[in-house]
Symmetry: C2
Subunit: 370 residues, 2 copies
Amino acid sequence: MSETVDNTKIYRVELGVRSYDIHIEPDCLGRLGEAMAKLFAAPTRCMVISNVTIAPLYMDVVRSSLEQAGWQVSECILADGERYKTMESFGLIMDALMQSKLSRNEPVIALGGGVVGDMTGFAASCYRRGIPFIQVPTTVLAQVDSSVGGKTAINHPHGKNMIGAFYQPKLVWIDPKVLNTLELREIRAGIAEAIKYGLIRDAGFFEWMQKSAKAALDLNADVLGQMIHTSCRHKAEVVMADETEQGQRALLNLGHTFGHAIESMTHYSTYLHGEGVAIGTLMAARLSEQLGHAPAGTEDAIRGCYKHVGLPVEVPGFSAEQWLDAMGHDKKNVGSRIRYILLRGIGDAFLAEDVSPDAINQLIDSYRKV
Amino acid sequence: MSETVDNTKIYRVELGVRSYDIHIEPDCLGRLGEAMAKLFAAPTRCMVISNVTIAPLYMDVVRSSLEQAGWQVSECILADGERYKTMESFGLIMDALMQSKLSRNEPVIALGGGVVGDMTGFAASCYRRGIPFIQVPTTVLAQVDSSVGGKTAINHPHGKNMIGAFYQPKLVWIDPKVLNTLELREIRAGIAEAIKYGLIRDAGFFEWMQKSAKAALDLNADVLGQMIHTSCRHKAEVVMADETEQGQRALLNLGHTFGHAIESMTHYSTYLHGEGVAIGTLMAARLSEQLGHAPAGTEDAIRGCYKHVGLPVEVPGFSAEQWLDAMGHDKKNVGSRIRYILLRGIGDAFLAEDVSPDAINQLIDSYRKV
């Protein structure tokens, strides 16, 4: 499944006609044009979609790499942040694509973090009913998680990622060196998503992350590389087994039911996605303990690791009703169920569909009494 | 591939896991709930999406059929017309779906013509990254063409169907009796799409349509039924051979390159889609003659048939530059090509990628000199 040459690692995501490579290599950003020329019969037009933070840092390198390989490049630069992952931004991308008159075989390139990648992928899935797209992730979160697997989306005011598509990229091109310009807070939030693979399916990786988190925060190239490799391997394995989340891919949503509610209740402006997921994971761990699935101390072990990384661990003080509403409980529908990902312990997650609203009330209460 | 019991005809569109039935039967509208109960493990919630013209006529029948079968029904009623096939209407559908909290396995039903079907299908493809949808077409155009095959979309101000997805329905439920309430102009526009199959791949059907058009306009049940059956058979065959329009499915766009330009230049408010396609088909026929592909008289034969049906046959007077711009010619890009569907004769269409802008100039000129 993988091949290593020097510092380069390539994972192949095998999905029949939708298969693609994850290429991980320090300093590969400037060779994107070359790599894309191999994917397409002949370089024609393409569009790079990025944001106001990333474009000033990396657009020049990407553009000249593409132009040298013969591509005619247009750009679409968006505002930065999860609160701009909206229908309005989607409309701006569509306007830019229409203006550039990209045809059905001409690619768009997502140069940025999870927000840019999710929006670009969704736009690529819709424009002319689907054009090729390339992921060039520039944050830890996007490099270890969101750029792989084809989950694309924008947010609805009443729910995160509610409008989207399963739409695979043609290539994921990861240069760990671009993380050097990332803010510490962004690095921490991304590490939370890497830790997630340990919690779900690889206790050894969780232990390694506990030991290595500090070095990752210091941008130690070897540790970052190892963290990205292992995360991409896990992500690729899960996606190949369950592309459209009929089963085990749902486990990757550990911490997300609570985490999305946190993001939504705070209007996507207080927490980064990875921060919301970290807090949500602690809640899922406590719920697992309360329901007798996980041994006592599971939540504390995870909290210890998060604190070590410098992630927020305080659950924000909303009422149980606000939580249930934000998580999509429909009071008129007794039959409506929320799916929670719970833990049997570190490295062993499972899907639970039978969690009662009472259990959630009790969970929320337990935080309010602290 | 098909089975006939009394007046009922069922075509199976075989597309692996995306296979579905086209069920054609007079008076079947009131049995939709029953049919859907067979498709889903247990009736839960569903949403019917329709418009202000169709809902007063048929929503009651559909709703009570669904409720009797155990479904909990919500509704989303849109404005009527191609000029509402917009991002704004798409947003309204998303708001309604969010409010109803439909889960990933609960279906939406498109009750209406091509616009309702295209928008509902696209919304279904995006909401929670895809939920099931059912087509219940209520116009000739939707029954003979747009409800089958999974092409879904909304329009961009600068181009028709530019934002969409290939997303197959789970069932197409056709009741020809609902055509009884349709305006004559809508019937004529739909017949144009039926005639299209004859022009592309079935000269015998073209002859039959010439003879039978009057009876179809008079809503003769046998003739309408035959027209719908034959059209659905052709559509299903083409879609099965080429689901995502890599090859022969493009032939179904006969008349559409010019037709979409007509609709776009007149802001979707002057011509019905089928009317634009009829005029566009005459232009494609004349272009085929001018380029030496089709025998002289081809355009005249088609014009005669359209006149017989009462379809518009006059090409609107825009400049060649306006035409080329509306059809997406990029003047900065010499390499950019528009694909035209041309005719070798009645019943024999092909895809041409080498039509020069000069040939289009000459074609437009030939209409301006008349």
